[in-house]
Amino acid sequence: MAEPVLELVDVRYRYPTGPEALRGLTLSVAPGERVGLVGPNGAGKSTLLLALAGFVPAEGLIRVAGHTLTRGTARDVRRHLGLVFQDADDQLFMPRVIDDIAFGPVTMGLALEEVQVRVHEALHAVDLEGYETRAPYHLSVGEKRRAALATVLAMRPQILALDEPSANLDPRGRRRLIQLLAGLSSTLLVVGHDLDLILEVCQRTVVIDAGRVAADGPSAEILGNRELLESHGLELPLGLAARM
């Protein structure tokens, strides 16, 4: 098997003002794999993504695209890890959509022509052509999410990590997102409660509860296991429930 693109061994983190969010989490992801991360609220899924990018200083081993995460390597790690935050308002901070999408490629030091290519490619991928000069804070929720995704796509990261990407999307926006994710070739981590989306996009699903991996296996198996899901506060995806 190929060298894992993502490796976590016994990762722990306690918020200074709160609970122990990660309690010895171990996980390994192969290049090109699409993994759904599911679990009840407060399980530590969002914290896990922050730890991957080095935003919260977790204990344990974290390796991303061949770089072991330390204070000194956080920058290299972030180059390979495209993080899309749960709240798109956190992701978008520039005055215009086009500036926001160009921000990553420009900070990477790419030439102007290359930046333009990346920006247009990303806008096209999320179907936001024509939105270049709009202000991100004046977009609808669905448009904001797509713009947030584009800001990361433009950096062409090896690993894409999305936190609850379909929350608050209408059915059409959700369908569009599923198609978009299914068409990507990078390694994918999708955190979410939208088990139907994960079933369609990810071949593998990891259940996280109380800061640890509680189950790990093919999506069809994990998401079809009513008892397992219910013991972690989840429900069968509608797509599978209908077939039973």
Partner: protein, 261 residues
């Protein structure tokens, strides 16, 4: 959400929009400096500055309501001065009235002083607003960076600008959330108390959000440097514009010296 946008018209295409941002920034500073250096209580030297600003206003096709609204937003400070000076400045009383146990004298000297300060303040604010109305904010930042303004200062300004939006967003969300529950009514005392509580939470929420936005920037490689994807260049017309503005500032000061010695 609807904000009063600072640089709403900055994407226009008039001749003044197309001037170099660094040049426009220097020109704005020259006009403000000229305004500030005009001696106390002297009104005449301010007139050419006002005329020049009006001309720039027209050339940039900046809508008048845009400017007036924003001047109103920044005016509370000026208003405090305008209200206080007439009664604090000693001099010949033009109007005397009783306020509880006090007798208040509105003096002529105070009125002149207040009017002069308000005029200077409004001119400076107007010049700044016009710069922002005809230059995109990130271009102003790049202009400052090219003028060798320290990087830390420029980055602070950039953050300040973004955080202003966050703050306004949070205020609006929280006000909406509260209004949805109390119907915007309730006794004043309760509303005031909840208002104070809201301020505390507002601070924490803004701080949290600011941190997450910083993360979003760092996640995309931000290390405190502003990179300029599009470089602009000072051309003949830009130098001419800056020279004109500097001459204007000097003219105001010169006129001040000539008229009042």
């Amino acid at each position: 959400m609807h904000h009063i946008m600072l640089d709403q018209f900055a994407a226009g295409k008039t001749a003044v929009h197309r001037l170099d941002p660094a040049g426009k920034t220097v020109a704005t500073l020259a006009v403000i400096l000229g305004t500030v250096l005009v001696g106390r209580d002297h009104f005449l030297p301010l007139v050419p500055l006002a005329v020049a600003l009006a001309a720039y206003h027209a050339a940039g096709r900046t809508p008048l309501p845009y400017t007036l609204k924003r001047l109103l937003v920044v005016s509370p400070f000026a208003l405090a001065v305008v209200v206080l000076f007439p009664i604090l400045e000693p001099g010949r009383p033009v109007w005397t009235f009783g306020l509880g146990p006090w007798t208040v004298n509105v003096t002529e000297e105070g009125l002149v002083r207040a009017g002069h300060l308000a005029a200077k303040f409004l001119l400076s604010a107007w010049a700044t607003l016009l710069l922002l109305a005809t230059t995109r904010f990130q271009d102003v930042l790049q202009g400052l960076a090219r003028l060798r303004v320290p990087r830390a200062f420029v980055v602070q300004l950039a953050f300040l600008y973004r955080y202003l939006w966050i703050l306004m967003d949070e205020v609006m969300r929280m006000r909406q959330a509260r209004a949805a529950r109390d119907g915007g009514l309730g006794p004043w005392r309760v509303r005031f108390q909840s208002g104070v509580g809201v301020l505390g939470v507002l601070f924490l929420r803004t701080y949290d959000r600011a941190e997450r936005i910083y993360w979003a920037m760092a996640a995309r490689g931000f290390d405190g440097r502003l990179h300029a994807p599009i470089q602009s260049r000072m051309q003949g017309k830009d130098w001419l514009f800056v020279a004109g503005a500097v001459a204007l500032g000097c003219a105001a000061v010169g006129l001040d010296r000539a008229l009042y010695g």
